[in-house]
């Protein structure tokens, strides 16, 4: 009898969920809202600013080409390469060396942001980096300098009929 | 960074008492004892490893092995084998880990298995065997554990084994 009672309880629990809202997040139509503008780091205080760790943004006018990010990434995922941009001659970057990031390798740990002492490299909310070939995943410094336009409005809401993305 | 916190200054009484007992019991086989809060490292001669292990098992109720690690010291031409033993049975000693360390020559790293004293040591000894080439005499199944069956190189955790590509 206990067996049947428990089985009935299980069926009741399952049936109850026919009237609950679906949690599914329908990705291409809905996009998640993130807190803040992406992960940033304050080298003076030594503390980061909370945010999503997505695609990087590189401030070309601040980058000195010190290749600290390259040194850091060498031991993690080897995604960052320093490349030379002769046409970009910024006064603080004499050799005009800039990081170039291979998103096929990047693990988005953000330690390159932590190590940068000039606030030149931050991370942003954008995470939709897809392409048909590997070459397109290689982001040159100019591409990294573009501010991404990510707009997400959905987050988990808690209602009477369960949780949903809204 | 350099300032020493207060825990270092006060002598860990309990650990000191246990260490003294060990020193008395094992006598001249003990080469040295390092004491830190909650950690004791006993360095012994490798001939008397069974005696020391038996003592730990029976007197201190160290009923399981947490880890068996091998550290390669090519400069001294020795391999150090470290057993970390802990206890579940004695509640007052649960935070205590006693390390049993001995050094064996690097060319002929032969030692005795402790599987009859601590059955939980089986896979740790197998791993140490394949990673550092330490041979545990009397182990029932000293085979490859993680490495491929056809591995025919130096034991990989020895210092003279270089990671490919480095």
């Amino acid at each position: 009898m206990n067996f049947i009672f428990k089985l009935f309880n299980a069926i009741k629990s399952g049936m109850k969920h026919l009237f609950m809202r679906r949690l599914t997040f329908r990705y291409p139509n809905q996009k998640l809202r993130f807190y803040g503008d992406g992960y940033q780091y304050d080298p003076k205080e030594g503390v980061g600013v909370a945010g999503y760790r997505g695609r990087h943004i590189l401030y070309l006018e601040k980058c000195t080409g010190c290749s600290l990010c390259f040194m850091m990434c060498k031991g993690i995922s080897q995604a960052i390469q320093m490349i030379n941009l002769p046409e970009k001659d910024v006064s603080i970057n004499k050799k005009s060396n800039f990081p170039q990031i291979d998103y096929a390798k990047c693990v988005y740990c953000g330690f390159c942001v932590d190590i940068c002492p000039f606030k030149a490299l931050f991370e942003t909310n954008e995470y939709e980096i897809v392409s048909y070939d590997k070459e397109s995943l290689l982001f040159t410094p100019e591409q990294l300098a573009i501010k991404p336009k990510y707009k997400g409005t959905y987050e988990i809401q808690y209602g009477k009929r369960g949780a949903y993305h809204g | 960074m350099s300032e020493t916190p207060e825990i270092k200054q006060q002598l860990p009484e309990r650990e000191k008492k246990i260490a003294d007992n060990i020193a008395i019991k094992l006598g001249k086989d003990v080469l040295g004892i390092e004491i830190k809060p909650k950690r004791i490292k006993v360095k012994i001669k490798y001939k008397c490893i069974k005696k020391a292990a038996n003592y730990f098992k029976t007197e201190l109720n160290l009923d399981h092995i947490v880890s068996v690690s091998g550290v390669d010291y090519p400069n001294d031409n020795e391999i150090e084998v470290v057993y970390h033993a802990g206890t579940y049975e004695r509640k007052d000693l649960r935070d205590l880990l006693i390390a049993l360390a001995y050094r064996i020559p690097r060319e002929n790293p032969k030692t005795q298995t402790l599987i009859d004293i601590w059955p939980s040591i089986e896979y740790d000894e197998r791993e140490t065997h394949e990673m550092l080439g330490v041979f545990f005499e009397g182990h029932p199944k000293l085979e490859k554990l993680f490495l491929p069956e056809d591995w025919n190189d130096k034991p990989p955790l020895r210092k003279d084994f270089k990671n490919p590509g480095r």
Binding site: L7, A10, I11, S13, G14, M15, H17, L18, M20, R21, R22, L23, T24, R26, Y132, G162 | -
Partner: protein, 398 residues
């Protein structure tokens, strides 16, 4: 032709190939239409029948494949095509329903309404796959099993009375035919496991054999009590005996026994032990790929429909609607009532799949032989008692 590198390239290639095929088809068809008179005749009728369906029907009747012919009944309705359509859509419904129960959406993109064309997409996918068989398998048996499983499901449809007048074949012993056909299922499962010449399928085949044999006997006993009450082996007569009161009301235990045995016969969760995927991969289906796998799935779901229909026939009053309903429900005719009830049984089976884990084979066999058989015999006694006490004078038939 150029190399395909990007998605637009692929689309271009697709259009070229499809366009070429279409062009060829038009040319060939055009040539044929004016050369072969029979086809041109058919073509005229085809054109006419667009405006007047009766012309079409008459033409089909003249060919012997009209709506009242045996051919139509076997092939279209209530035969194979109908069952396959229900099977395909019940697969879709099952996924959608379980999706809702699990707080997700299920199939979404194929078709306009909630991915209703998903089964079709799956078939297309399976058709485009390569058919592989294990090296030392018995090829003849290996490839005949999908057809056999399909045939077992389809053979049950022959005697399934969807309505009083509209059924493929009426036999005096149709319930025996049903059990004779069901008896083939364990053999097909065992053969599939054996012919694959692989360990997991073989274990799955043996499990299937054990399970199906263990549950066939309680199933037969439960059906026997129905036969006793209705006094006939004919499924049509059995349904007619339930015109005033359904047998599920008279013999709830029998209905439960039959239902549980049904679950085991169908290998549905909680009794999908021969296909237990985390234990023995997928059991006897493991080595099947492509449309061979698709055929097994189709056959299983057709059997699912057919056996649910038989449960409806035996216990839920077949094509009769509930008596207490007001008169306006009379317009729902017999076939619709039957389909509705069958679908209800299927939905209940799907609900059980959503909330239950899998049983273990030894527990299941013990349950089948010791509990279910006892209950079935008890139910038989109840049936005899009902008959002897004469509470329901219309029962007992003869």
């Amino acid at each position: 032709m150029s190399e395909i590198r990007t998605f637009p390239d692929f689309l271009k290639r697709l259009i070229i190939v499809l366009g070429g095929l279409l062009f060829l088809a038009i040319i060939i068809f055009g040539v044929l239409i004016y050369t072969v008179p029979a086809i041109s005749n058919f073509n005229n009728i085809l054109l006419e029948s667009f405006s007047n369906p009766i012309v079409m029907l008459n033409y089909l009747d003249s060919l012997g494949v009209g709506i009242n012919s045996l051919f139509f009944k076997i092939v279209i309705f209530p035969g194979y095509t109908w069952a396959a359509l229900i099977a395909a859509e019940i697969i879709w419904f099952e996924r959608k329903f379980l999706g809702k129960m699990q707080m997700r959406v299920g199939p979404l993109y194929a078709g306009l309404i909630g991915g209703i064309l998903q089964p079709l997409a799956d078939v297309v996918k399976l058709l485009s796959k390569e058919m592989i068989s294990p090296g030392r398998s018995d090829k003849l048996i290996f490839y005949s099993i999908p057809l056999l499983i399909n045939a077992i499901g389809a053979a049950l449809l022959v005697v399934l009375p969807v309505s009083e007048g509209w059924l493929i074949m009426r036999s005096d012993v149709s319930i025996l035919i049903v059990f004779a056909v069901i008896g083939f299922a364990p053999i097909s499962v065992l053969l599939a496991g054996w012919a694959s010449n692989s360990k997991f399928p073989f274990i799955g085949g043996l499990r299937g054999l054990h399970q199906m044999i263990a549950f066939e006997i309680p199933m037969l006993m439960a059906a026997l009590s129905v036969v006793l009450l209705s006094g006939s082996l004919d499924l049509v007569n059995i349904v007619q005996a339930q015109s005033s009161i359904w047998f599920i009301v008279l013999m709830p235990i029998g209905a439960i026994v039959f239902f549980i045995a049904l679950l085991a016969e169908l290998e549905r969760i909680p009794f999908d032990i021969p296909e237990a995927e985390s234990e023995i991969v997928v059991g006897y289906i493991t080595e099947y790929s492509s449309m061979a796998f698709g055929n097994i799935q189709l056959g299983t779901y057709i059997r699912f429909y057919a056996l649910s229909g038989i449960f409806t026939t035996l216990f839920l009053g077949g094509w009769y609607g509930p008596q207490f309903l007001p008169a306006r429900f009379e317009i729902i005719n017999q076939i619709e009532w039957f389909t509705l009830k069958t679908l209800l049984v299927m939905v209940i089976i799907i609900i059980l799949r959503g909330v239950n884990p899998r049983f273990r084979i030894d527990l299941l066999l013990r349950f089948g032989w010791s509990r279910l058989l006892v209950l079935a015999i008890l139910n038989l006694f109840i049936a005899i008692m009902i008959l002897q006490m004469g509470w329901f004078p219309f029962l007992g038939g003869i």
